[in-house]
Subunit: 126 residues, 4 copies
Amino acid sequence: MSQPIGKTRWAIAEGYIPAYSTGPEPQFTSHETACLLNSSDQDAHVEIMVYFNDREPVGPYRVTVPARRTKHLRFNDLSEPEPIPRDTDYASVIESDMPIVVQHTRLDSRQAENALLSTIAYASND
Amino acid sequence: MSQPIGKTRWAIAEGYIPAYSTGPEPQFTSHETACLLNSSDQDAHVEIMVYFNDREPVGPYRVTVPARRTKHLRFNDLSEPEPIPRDTDYASVIESDMPIVVQHTRLDSRQAENALLSTIAYASND
Amino acid sequence: MSQPIGKTRWAIAEGYIPAYSTGPEPQFTSHETACLLNSSDQDAHVEIMVYFNDREPVGPYRVTVPARRTKHLRFNDLSEPEPIPRDTDYASVIESDMPIVVQHTRLDSRQAENALLSTIAYASND
Amino acid sequence: MSQPIGKTRWAIAEGYIPAYSTGPEPQFTSHETACLLNSSDQDAHVEIMVYFNDREPVGPYRVTVPARRTKHLRFNDLSEPEPIPRDTDYASVIESDMPIVVQHTRLDSRQAENALLSTIAYASND
């Protein structure tokens, strides 16, 4: 790998953690994930700001993705400065000091059969 | 956050609101959403044009996304100048006076178990 | 709308029409769709080449998307020069003489409950 | 087709092969696929590096996509230098000596009704 792949600013406009789940945990817990890939040879220090419909943004949430590692970060697990509320629309902006790649995935297991969505996040050079 | 992330013109080529739904409302109402994120410090004034297969485009639909807010806009809820018909193919072009990020999501609950799709919309610099 | 949005070359690397379906037709017929949006004031003449795993590409399939219209083209319906086989991996390259936006969607109804996927296609300036 | 469409470096930040499956094989085997399209007139020699959460990357996995062909590569089938473990988060970087287009798809059939996700991968010019 010649050089790290990715960008340093990303956004996910869709965000929603279903309020309940069906099936064995943790695999079938309804969750929303930001998959972060750091293919570089230096740790990436990542900051996430979370935006809401009706109040000021919360954050930054901080996470480190070590060199040459991927971290599939469940928004469900974020707690500092505060947990992400369930059944609430949100969005996020993700900034890193190293180029990373970000993909957004949700598993919705509110019903007996789970549903999935995924998309590459929006990458910015700005 | 140094500067707002996003673009001012977006397009969603896929559009389809299923004709019926199964399960508790409003979470399981079949719907199609444009998730809009405005991370800037100024309100974003957004105009949406809706394109059809067999007639002239309708719009603009107008919506404001306040500064530092996200709005998950259900196409189901648009009413002015006219509602989006169900069970009909459409597409949309979204223009904003501030940079925004747009993601497209559908929940299809016509059957007992819901299905989901999502993708980042197409962003343009033009 | 100041100018048309989109690009003139697009690719969809994933292609697969499920072999069978469950549920009422045509809504729940398993299908794969290229959603084409032409927001310009001139008709877009579109040519689609279809690529396979083990034989030479087939095409071009020709379709016109009128000015200010969207066309949600089911690959299932393509017949000239030949139908797209079911249960077969393929991919496609889409070229237009006007800028268009392309989104790829599949509804898989092989089982009792349908599944959905969608993504913006890959756009090229080349 | 004037010239090949695509890029030579791609990344998929999401990666997860479900641990089990329901339904007839191989169509309903839970799987994760990188759909590769080589629209050029020369074979594309592709190398895939796989990244994990807690150990060094593995690879390169090597695959050739012949000229004017698509290959829908199941990560499940990769064996050299080692199989991809199930029920494990991973990510991948895909490099090719010819421009290609990469799309990421998962079929999750752990439950009775399958779920699907798909997204265009992240393309890089670097």
